[in-house]
């Protein structure tokens, strides 16, 4: 049970007869760890795209009256920047961690539906390419990331731009929903013996809450998009004001989805930080149950605050008061988490490496965004701030200062587990400090520009309104962020192969995923352990850390069953085949199902913008081919017969 000094040679033995290698290996994989890596690579690529879009905008806004891009192009850039960062970067980066970590943290060999998992990824990739490609042809969506109708109806946006957005988001929704059902089932039903809900690592807990938000919020945007699609293609009246439609219908439906979506973006980062801080403080998370319950409360309340995005439309005093109060309420469980993280560090033996620095930075930066959020939970003050750069500053502090910093903390922390090599700490620290300076220089001045009256989404501005220097600062900050991104990319790419070899538990962390080799073998756990604690590895190696936690400590009576395996550090180097562990068969079917489904849905766009006949062919032909692929998928076994 000694810690392993160097990683066993998995790279060589990982490929079995069961598994394709190379390109086909990736295309046919149903292994949650490989799918997690695919999400990671793809989302980082889209991060680059979204970052370049932001940089072009910041260049355009650097000085008054610039014309680096056209006004129309600017509309496309801010629409795609928002859409990309929300749907193609933060959500999938979180999904990368859901995929990689959830089965490892709960002691499972894969997710509940491995092929559905692959399907989710391919749908995400295809939907992402579908929605991103048009910007290269100057026909990208241009209605803002929340696509307010009636602006986005055929009457005011006749071109194909919005069709790409509607159809693309619809495709991406399928990926998120399928993943949501999958992870809920996985967490409920695949926990190792003894892994009770109150022993689950906090990342898994936050992911669990997020999946419920996904499966309940996405149907609403699906319906709102169906209405918009029908209005645009079939001439229905959902958003047609001349037919007495209500101009607020889209706004309400969108934000019923949109606010839970905010928590979908931030809670996984909270979960990651709740793993990183205890590991590098050498202390259990302070107030674990409170962190868990506050996450659940945030999830529930998240469905009751949506109209605070709409204070400016005149909903009347009752609605304004109710949504203002629920919004102030939701700040409580969020603030509670901040204190939990601070007290986790209090008196701990802090290790200031890159992952820890990013996690600490999240606590501070997210708080800035949280406080400006409380400021516009009050309708009178929101009326001053709405649709100004103050709001832009707010949500970038929440999403960059919160979600992205948390995800960077997660990447530095889990890189050794994912790739079996350590990331370079020196470059990591450069990345961190440059990132921290760039982030604050970019987004903090936006508060002032906003309060001075600068509208968000504005194409350019005249000098003499007091915006000039703030905009210059923001643009310089963006350039600094780009430098940080380059350092990160270099570190990420080179460390994958050349970083120091990672042991099973390089951070001396306490949760189950660190009990298996880095990178984990295809089957994860050679023997599924029986869990008796929140920090089972610390019970073994640092009993002084866990002595006082309830739900912990060896329960002598329960683990004494003959066949149960206590938690131990595994050093198994054999393949699944040698160990007789059945693994799912790699298959192309999820990829084809995703492809055909995307072709089918894109038939709507082709029907409207290219050719009605061809569109029908795609819809019907794609539908039949999709159904046939699904049937053949459902009737083929997951694992080899044994």
């Amino acid at each position: 049970m000694a810690t392993i000094a160097s990683a066993p040679p998995y790279a060589a033995s990982a490929t079995t007869l069961n598994e394709e290698s190379g390109f086909m290996g990736w295309l046919t994989t149903v292994d949650h760890k490989k799918i997690g890596q695919l999400y990671l690579y793809t989302a980082l690529m889209f991060f680059l795209v979204g970052g370049i879009e932001a940089s072009i905008m910041r260049y355009q806004l650097m000085k008054p009256n610039m014309h680096a891009v056209s006004a129309e192009m600017f509309n496309q850039l801010f629409t795609m920047h928002g859409t990309t960062m929300v749907f193609l970067v933060i959500m999938p980066l979180s999904a990368a961690f859901f995929n990689f970590l959830i089965p490892l943290q709960i002691g499972a060999r894969d997710v509940a539906f491995p092929r559905l998992n692959a399907f989710s990824y391919w749908v995400y990739l295809l939907g992402g390419l579908f929605i991103t490609a048009p910007i290269f042809f100057k026909t990208a969506p241009n209605g803002g990331w929340f696509g307010y109708a009636p602006l986005t109806t055929g009457q005011f946006s006749p071109g194909p731009n919005i069709d790409f957005w509607v159809v693309g988001i619809q495709i991406l929704g399928v990926a998120s929903l399928a993943a949501g059902f999958n992870f809920i089932t996985t967490i409920i039903n695949m926990r190792a013996p003894g892994m009770t809900l109150m022993r689950m690592p906090v990342f898994t807990w936050m992911s669990f809450v997020v999946q419920f938000l996904v499966v309940l919020a996405f149907p609403v945007i699906t319906i709102a998009l169906v209405f918009l699609l029908f209005d645009r293609i079939f001439g229905t009246n959902f958003y047609n004001i001349q037919a007495s439609a209500d101009p607020l219908l889209w706004q309400h439906l969108f934000w019923v989805f949109g606010h839970p979506e905010v928590y979908i973006l931030i809670l996984p980062a909270f979960g990651l930080v709740s793993e990183v801080l205890p590991a590098h403080s050498g202390k259990p998370l302070f107030g674990y149950p409170v962190v868990v319950y506050s996450g659940i409360v945030i999830g529930f309340l998240g469905f009751g605050v949506w109209a605070h995005h709409m204070f400016a439309v005149g909903m009347g005093p009752i609605a304004d008061a109710v949504f203002s109060m629920t919004t102030m309420l939701i700040a409580i469980p969020t603030g509670v988490k901040i204190f939990n993280w601070i007290f986790t560090m209090w008196g701990g033996n802090l290790r200031f490496n890159t992952a820890m620095l990013f996690a600490i930075a999240l606590v501070g930066e997210f708080t800035i965004g949280g406080i400006s959020g409380i400021m516009h939970s009050s309708p009178p003050s929101d009326l001053q701030q709405t649709d100004t750069y103050f709001i832009v500053a707010h949500f970038h502090y929440v999403l960059y200062g919160g979600a992205i910093l948390g995800i960077f903390a997660g990447i530095y922390h889990y890189f050794p587990k994912i790739f079996g090599h350590m990331m370079d700490e020196k470059l990591g620290k450069w990345h961190f400090w440059i990132n921290l300076i760039g982030l604050n220089l970019t987004f903090f001045p936006m508060h002032f520009a906003g309060l001075l009256g600068m509208s968000r989404r504005i194409y350019t501005y005249d000098s003499g309104q007091g915006f000039d220097s703030f905009n210059m600062m923001s643009s310089i900050g963006t350039a600094i962020l780009l430098v940080g991104a380059i350092i990160f990319a270099y570190n990420f790419i080179t460390s994958r192969k050349n970083g120091a070899v990672a042991p099973a538990n390089p951070w001396d962390a306490g949760t189950l995923e660190w009990s298996i080799p880095s990178p984990p073998p295809e089957y994860n756990f050679a023997e599924i352990p029986t869990v008796t604690s929140r920090y089972p590895l610390w019970d073994l190696q640092h009993p002084e850390r866990t002595g006082e936690i309830p739900h912990s400590g060896p329960e002598a009576g329960k683990i004494a069953e003959a066949h149960s395996v206590p938690v131990h550090v595994e050093s198994e180097t054999r393949t699944a085949r040698q160990l007789g562990i059945p693994m799912p068969i790699p298959t192309l079917k999820p990829f084809f199902a995703a492809l055909l489904m995307s072709v089918m849905i894109s038939g709507f766009l082709v029907h409207k913008d290219v050719s009605e006949k061809l569109g029908l062919v795609l819809l019907i032909g794609g539908g039949i081919a999709f159904a046939a692929t699904m049937l053949s998928w459902l009737f083929s076994p997951l694992e080899p017969e044994h």
């Binding site: 419920f212 309940l216 019923v256 009751g304 109209a307 005149g314 609605a319």
Partner: protein, 113 residues
């Protein structure tokens, strides 16, 4: 792996036997069908009576509809007899959906200037 299957079948058999003691029988299902038919008949009947203009008409219909809804969910979808996990997985989202519908109707019922 044969032993695994055997074990599983035994566990499944036990669970089924368990359900058999408390679960519905064919007779229960047919009684439920009769009740559903009756409620539907009453629903359509009151639609054609002067009761239709009474202020109690809408609440009465909503109650009858809810009764049918939960009868089908409870008996035919076995939620009354099944693992409580399924009740949670259905009940939570159902309540959020109802709450959202009510909130939206309230928000749109105010005349705006």
């Amino acid at each position: 792996m044969t032993s695994d299957h055997g074990h599983d079948a035994a566990a499944g058999g036990h669970a089924q036997g368990h359900a058999e003691h408390h679960g519905p029988t064919t007779k229960t299902y047919l009684v439920v069908a009769a009740v559903l038919t009756l409620i539907t008949a009453v629903e359509v009947y009151v639609y054609y009576t002067p009761f239709r203009h009474s202020p109690a008409f809408v609440p009465t219909l909503l109650v009858m509809s809810a009764l049918k809804f939960f009868t089908v969910v409870g008996f035919y979808m076995h939620l009354k007899y099944d693992h409580k996990l399924f009740r949670t997985l259905f009940g939570g989202p159902f309540l959020i959906a109802i709450g959202t519908i009510i909130a939206l109707i309230f928000l749109f019922s105010r005349p705006r200037a």
